[in-house]
Amino acid sequence: MWRYTLKRLLQGLVTVWFIATATFFAMHNVPGDPLSGERAATPEIRANLEARYGLDQPLATQYIIYLENFIKGDFGISYTQRNRQVNDIIREHFPVSATLGILAVMFAAMGGVLFGALTALFRNRLPDTIIMFMVILGISVPSFVFAALGQLLLVNINDLLGFSILPVAGWGTVSHMLMPALVLGMGTMAYLTRLMRSSMLEIINSDYVRTAKAKGLPPERIFAKHQLRNAIMPVITVLGPAIAAITTGGFVVELVFAIPGLGRYFVQAVQQLDYTVIMGTTVFYGAFLVFMVILVDLLYGWIDPRVRLQ
C-alpha cells in the first residue's frame, strides 16, 4: 500500500513535469506579446522589459531557467500584477477558490447521493419525476445565467424583506459563500444525481442484493451496506476530477459574485498572456489534479476491495 502510494506520487511528479513542458511551449507559441500595452513602448523600453523578464534569451534557455526556478519553487513575477510574486498570487487566491469549490462539491455530493438514491428507490414515480425535472432544469441553464439569476433573486429578496439575509456579492464570511457555492455546485449536483440514480438502479437488481434479501437481512442494512456503498462507486470516481474542475472552473461565479479566487486570475492571465501566472497556475492546478486523482484511486481501493492496487 505504501509502496503503491509512493510510486503513484513519483509518477505524478513526472506527469506534472509533462504538463509544465507542454504548457510552456504552447504558451510561447500563442501569438501576442505579454509586454505590449495600449501605449506602444519604444524599442529601448521594450528591451529593458524583455531583459527584466528574461524574454531576451532563446526559448530553450528560458525553458531551462524556468525549470530551475520551478524546482526551487519560484514561479517568478506576474506580468500584469507587476509587483506580485506568482507564488503570492497562488497562496492568496487558491484558498478562496478551494473553500468555494469544496463547499460546492459538498453541496453537489450530498444532494447528488441523496436525490440519486431517492429517484432510484421511487423509479418512475412522482418523487423521481419531480427530482429529475429539477435536475434537468439545473443542468440546462448556463452557469452565467444561473449566477446572474441567483444574484437577482438575492437582491429582490433583500429588497422585499428590507434587510439583507445574504450579501449580493463580495467575500469575507460564510454568508458570502452560500449562494455562489450553490450556483457553482448545481451542475455537478445534477450530474451526480443522474449518475447515482443509474448506478443504484443497476445494484437494486443485482444478485447480491437479492441474496441479501432472501437471507432476510434487515432492509436498512441491505440498503446501507450493499446498495448505497456499491452505488457510490462511480460517484467517487468522478468526485476527484469534479473537485478539481469546480475549484479551477469557478471563473464565472467568481466574477459575478466578486470573489477573489484563482479562477479569475487564470482566465485573465490567459487573456493577457501573463506568462508567469499561466505557468504558475497551470502547474499548480495540474499538481492539484494529479494529487486528487491519486487520492481517489486510493479511496477506491479502500472502499471496493475488488479493485486491487498494484
Binding site: A41, R123, Q151, V168, G170, W171, T173, P219, F257, A258
Partner: protein, 567 residues
C-alpha cells in the same frame, strides 16, 4: 414475469428512512463545517469584505468598488485607469488638477518655469504618511529610477521632456546626467530638453510623483505590492489591501491640507467588472455609485435614481492600414468609407447611451484650445453622410486600384462589448451602403495589439485616451515616428505641425497647428470617427461631491461628503 423488486414498499420505506437519517447527519456535518469555514474565511479576507452598507454616517465613510485589482500602484511603473483611481487619492505630486480641471499647487508651494529650467519649491509641511518630510530628493530619486533601464518602466517616455532622459533610459548616458536635481531639501530644479509650453500639465501626471529612497530600499523589491509597502503623499493613505477582494483608504493624518478630504475613509470593498453585479450591489445599497449600460437605463428611471453623465476623455475611431499592398492606402476608398457611415446612427441607435457623443475629429469635444475649446476655435470639418457620393469615390478607388471588386476588408477589433457591437454595426453598414465585404477579426487584447503591430489588418477599431490636458496628447498620434501610429500613416506636413505643437511656446500658434492637423486628417480621410466614450452613472443621493473626469483619477472621492439632509 416476476414483480419488479423496486415496488417493494416495505423495503423502500426502510431505505428512505435510512436515507433520511443520512441526510440529517450530512446536514449536521455541513453546518459544523460552515462554522469551521467561517473562522477560516476570516483568514483569507478582512472584515471589510462587503458587510457594510454604502454609506456609514457614524464613521464618515463610504463604500465603493474597483473594476479590477489595481495592477500597478508603483508610480514609477505603468499607468492604467484603475490604479489611477487609487493613486489619485493616495498620491500627490508637485502639481495637481483641482475640481475644475485647473492646474494648482500640490506638494510644491510655488513653481517657476523659465526657458528650459523649471524650479519647484516644496512645502515645508509636505510629509509622507509615516510622518517623514517629503523632500526634493524624493522626486529626483523617483524620476531617475523611472528612467533607469533596470527599472524597465513602461511610462518612462513621459519623462523624455527632461534633458538627457531619453538617452539615459536607452542606456546611452548615465542616470546622473538626467536634468533633474535637488538643489536643497525643498528645492527641485528641472532642466528640459528644450522649452515647452505644457510642462506643468505633464507634471500633474502620476509618473512625476515622489518616492522615498530609504523606504523603497527597505521593501526588498516588494515595493507597492501590499498596503504596507508604499508611502503615501496624498490626502488619503491605504490601510488595507486584500488583493482581488478589497482595498481601504483612510484620511492621511500627515497630509499638508487636512481640509481637502471630507471623508474619513473609503472602502473599495468589491472588485469586479461585471456590470450586472455592480448594478445589483448598488440596488442593494452596498456601493455609492455605479456606471450603467444602455440596457439598465429603463430600470434606473423606474427606480427613480439620480442619474448623471460624463465623458471619460477617450476618443474611438477606425484606423486604416497604410502599409504597402493594402487597399486602404487608396484615399478614395477611405473617403468612400468615411462618407458611407453615420456616427450619429452608431451612437444614437446602437450604443444608445447618452454619455456618448459622435466623434467628429481626433480631438475630443472637451479638449481646450487657447481660450475656448479647440472645437470652438477650430471647428472640425464635417463629412456629410452621403451614400451616393461614397459610391462615386468607391468607383474611383476601384479604377485606381485596377480592381473590379474590392477584396474582403479585414476589420480588427477586440472583445469588449462595445467593440463587438460596433464591429458588427460597421460590417453591416459598409455591406449595405457600399457593398463592401468586411470580415471581422475579433481578438483578445494582446493578440489585437500584436496584429496591429505586425500590420495584419485593413481597418481596426482603435481608441486613444489622454495622458495630460493638452491637445498634443492626441495631436502626435499620427506623427510618423509615433509607435502608436500602428497603421503607419505618413505625412510630412503633419509631422511638421506636430513639431510645432511640441516645441512652440506660443499657444495660439500651437492651436493653429492642431487645427491644421485636424484638417489634414479630414482631407486625407485618415480616420473614421466613431464616438467619444461617455458614462452614465447613478449615485446614492446621500453622497455629494463625487467627481468624474477625463484627466487624472477617473472617479475622485476626495471632495465627496455625506449629505445628512438628504433622506
Amino acid at each position: 414475469m416476476h414483480k419488479p423488486i423496486d415496488s417493494n414498499e416495505g423495503f423502500n420505506r426502510s431505505a428512505s428512512r435510512q436515507l433520511a437519517l443520512y441526510g440529517v447527519g450530512a446536514v449536521l456535518a455541513f453546518v459544523l463545517l460552515m462554522l469551521g469555514l467561517n473562522s477560516a474565511a476570516s483568514l483569507t479576507s478582512t472584515s471589510t469584505g462587503g458587510v457594510a452598507g454604502a454609506v456609514d454616517v457614524e464613521n464618515n465613510e463610504i463604500t465603493a468598488y474597483l473594476r479590477q485589482d489595481p495592477p500597478e500602484l508603483n508610480t514609477m511603473g505603468a499607468a492604467d485607469a484603475v490604479s489611477g483611481i487609487v493613486l489619485g487619492h493616495v498620491m500627490e505630486g508637485l502639481l495637481r488638477y483641482d475640481e475644475h480641471g485647473e492646474i494648482v499647487a500640490g506638494l510644491a508651494e510655488r513653481w517657476e518655469i523659465e526657458g528650459d529650467t523649471a524650479t519647484f519649491w516644496i512645502r515645508d509641511n509636505a510629509r509622507w504618511s509615516n510622518g517623514e518630510p517629503i523632500t526634493a530628493h524624493d522626486f529626483e530619486f523617483a524620476w531617475k529610477t523611472t528612467l533607469d533601464p533596470a527599472t524597465a518602466s513602461q511610462y518612462a517616455f513621459i519623462l523624455y521632456v527632461i534633458k538627457n532622459a531619453a538617452a539615459a533610459n536607452n542606456g546611452e548616458l548615465s542616470i546622473d546626467d538626467v536634468g533633474v536635481r535637488a538643489l536643497d531639501d525643498k528645492t527641485l530644479q528641472v532642466t528640459l530638453e528644450q522649452p515647452i509650453a505644457y510642462f506643468e500639465k505633464m507634471v500633474a501626471f502620476a509618473t512625476f510623483s515622489p518616492v522615498n529612497e530609504a523606504f523603497f530600499n527597505s521593501t526588498n523589491g516588494r515595493f507597492a505590492a501590499e498596503a504596507e509597502s508604499l508611502l503615501y503623499s496624498g490626502p488619503f493613505m491605504m490601510t488595507s489591501w486584500v488583493h482581488g477582494a478589497s482595498l481601504r483608504i483612510e484620511k492621511n493624518p500627515y497630509y499638508w491640507d487636512q481640509s481637502r478630504a471630507k471623508l474619513d475613509a473609503i472602502n473599495f470593498a468589491y472588485v469586479t467588472e461585471d456590470t450586472n453585479t455592480l448594478l445589483n450591489l448598488f440596488k442593494d445599497g452596498r456601493i455609492v455609485q455605479v456606471d450603467l449600460t444602455a440596457e439598465m437605463l429603463e430600470g434606473a428611471m423606474q427606480q427613480g435614481w439620480v442619474l448623471d453623465r460624463f465623458m471619460d476623455g477617450s476618443v474611438f475611431f477606425i484606423d486604416f492600414n497604410h502599409r504597402d499592398g493594402r487597399v486602404t492606402t487608396n484615399k478614395n476608398l477611405r473617403r468612400a468609407m468615411v462618407l458611407a457611415q453615420d456616427a450619429n446612427e452608431l451612437v444614437n441607435s446602437v450604443i444608445k447611451l447618452p454619455g456618448y457623443v459622435p466623434a467628429k475629429s481626433l480631438f475630443p469635444a472637451w479638449m481646450r484650445g487657447a481660450s475656448r475649446t479647440l472645437h470652438e476655435e477650430y471647428p472640425p470639418p464635417e463629412a456629410p453622410f452621403n451614400v451616393a457620393l461614397a459610391k462615386e469615390h468607391l468607383e474611383k478607388a476601384k479604377q485606381e486600384l485596377g480592381l473590379s471588386e474590392i477584396p474582403p476588408i479585414i476589420l480588427l477589433a477586440d472583445t469588449s462589448p462595445v467593440a463587438t457591437i460596433s464591429a458588427q454595426y460597421y460590417q453591416e453598414t459598409f455591406k449595405k451602403n457600399l457593398g463592401l465585404d468586411i470580415v471581422i477579426d475579433q481578438q483578445i487584447f494582446r493578440q489585437r495589439l500584436a496584429k496591429m503591430e505586425s500590420g495584419e489588418f485593413d481597418i481596426v477599431l482603435s481608441g486613444w485616451g489622454p495622458d495630460y490636458n493638452d491637445p498634443l496628447t492626441f495631436g502626435d498620434y499620427y506623427a510618423s515616428w509615433n509607435l502608436n501610429n500602428r497603421g503607419h500613416y505618413r505625412n510630412e506636413r503633419l509631422d511638421e505641425l506636430v513639431r510645432i505643437g511640441q516645441n512652440s511656446l506660443d499657444n495660439e500658434e500651437r492651436m493653429a497647428a492642431f487645427g491644421e492637423i485636424q484638417q489634414i486628417l479630414f482631407d486625407e480621410s485618415v480616420l473614421i470617427g466613431n464616438y467619444e466614450r461617455g458614462r452614465v452613472y447613478a449615485t446614492d443621493p446621500r453622497v455629494k461631491g463625487i467627481l468624474r473626469r477625463a484627466i487624472g483619477a477617473e472617479t475622485d472621492y476626495t471632495y465627496a461628503y455625506i449629505d445628512l439632509d438628504a433622506q
